[in-house]
């Protein structure tokens, strides 16, 4: 079972990263790698400190907002969609191919079109994040609900319960472990979605800041923003884990 207390083995990944830093620093120094190719950690740190915190927080908040809102919207769309597909074989057969088509179209390529469709502002960014995250959510929710033991469905039917109760009391809770697996994939994708959207059209956000910094050749600053993005992504992933641990602890069994 999952525990949130810290042990040495859980600290290992962070220690590995810490050990890599001096190697990176010395390598850059010894081989005289120019900082537009690979800046040293100290330079990145310097660049990070040179940007005022208020500026960071504006960009951070813009990206975080789009990622989380997009993810939540996607969740609100995909769970009902999964319920519909579980309830009706006909709709499953008609909707599923569409979902696969949408999923196999590169979102990066659709992004500029979405900007044209939705105009500037936050809505196209939310749409892009939604598009990139909903597939794993729909698939995991559908798979979870379909994997409900037949006996439980028969128990529900033998009690004369309505289909809505069957979904709400049995199938959806059964799908919770699956949905969380999907959410762990989707939450990291949501950062990707937000950044892709910012690349195409935005005046703020960490993705925008990476692009802005590289165009002004401020590579260490771009690296600092990149680092921020990784940490953000990691924290969101951990947040999903935490929600599962706090509210659905039973689903961590096995």
């Amino acid at each position: 079972m999952h525990k949130f207390n810290l042990s040495f083995s859980q600290l290992l990944p962070s220690l590995t990263l810490l050990a890599l830093l001096p190697i990176w620093e010395t390598a850059v120094y010894i081989f005289e790698i120019p900082n537009f190719l690979l800046p040293a950690p100290s330079e990145i740190m310097q660049a990070f400190l040179n940007v005022e915190w208020s500026r960071w927080s504006t960009h951070l908040w813009a990206t975080l907002r789009v990622a989380i809102l997009g993810f939540l919207m996607s969740l609100c769309i995909s769970i009902p969609l999964a319920v519909i597909m579980v309830r009706s074989k006909f709709l499953a057969k008609t909707i599923y191919p569409l979902l696969v088509i949408i999923q196999s179209t590169p979102v990066v390529a659709i992004a500029p079109l979405l900007i044209v469709m939705f105009g500037a502002g936050e809505s196209p960014r939310l749409a892009i994040t939604c598009l990139i995250t909903f597939f794993p959510l729909v698939v995991s929710a559908t798979t979870g609900m379909m994997s409900t033991p037949e006996e439980l469905i028969e128990l529900s039917k033998s009690l004369g319960a309505s289909p809505a109760k069957e979904i709400w009391h049995i199938r959806l809770p059964y799908a919770v472990p699956h949905i969380f697996s999907g959410m762990k994939v989707a939450i990291t994708l949501s950062i990707i979605g937000a950044v892709v959207a910012e690349f195409v059209a935005a005046e703020q956000g960490l993705g925008y800041f990476v692009q802005f910094s590289t165009s002004y050749f401020k590579i260490p600053q771009a690296f600092a923003a990149l680092l921020f993005l990784s940490v953000l992504s990691l924290l969101l992933f951990k947040a999903v884990q935490l929600v599962q641990y706090l509210f659905f602890r039973w689903s961590l069994q096995k």
Binding site: L155, G160, Q253, K254
Partner: protein
Amino acid sequence: MNPHVKFSQVGHTYTSENGQAVCALKGINFNIYKNEFIAVLGPSGCGKSTLLRLLSGLYEATMGEVSIFGTKVTEPQSNTGIVFQKPTLLPWKNILQNVVFPIQHKQGRVSSKDIESAKAMLKLVGLEEFAQHMPNQLSGGMQQRVGIARALLMDPEILIMDEPFSALDALTREEMGFELLNIWRQKPKTVLFITHSISEAVLLADRVLVLSPRPASVIGEIKIDLPRPRNIDSIKTSEFSEYTDQIRQLIYRPETQTENQESDLTPTLAEQSEGSTNA
């Protein structure tokens, strides 16, 4: 005395996934009387499960009529409780919540009276101390006892059991048989018990119905006149082994016992149980 359950000329044909019509049951006739324990014995995949689903109203018979208290069964009944092959407890609910689940599922809410009766059921199956445990903390046998408690909660007149002990190890299985007899003595019910174990059928039942391989029909009905309460000593008696021998002979030579059985549909029990899965 009017029978509780009546199968008259019941047949069931369903369409398999590849579009073929499969005849699972045909010409089934039998009655179950009040508080009688009937075991249905047959090779795997012979249509025993279909029989159970017809009685519980999950399927409607394509031929003939299944009736409970003289009323034709066309939809799930509130007077039947089902125990499944696997306990299938809800992993997100504790044992007490699992037992009370049928009421919660049906009515949407649970009264303190329901909780009390759920506790009484847990006591009956000997699991009162485990009310607050989660299902995965219980052994297979204990989980199945929760399944029995859940089926008994709404005090159904008829208890339908679908090979409830077949997923358990041999030792637990025997123990559960005695446990069930004990429960049944305290809470008499009309029971339809499906099994593919001859000794289990003889130990538990008042009458054993032996089914042929698919399409299943009743090829023999044996009244088990062993004294009750039955216990571990019942198994050791010579009558017990006479009954099991009698049934075994019926299963291995069905063509000598029935008139309407085609001879090409009678592979041995061993072949059947190895080659096919449950319908």
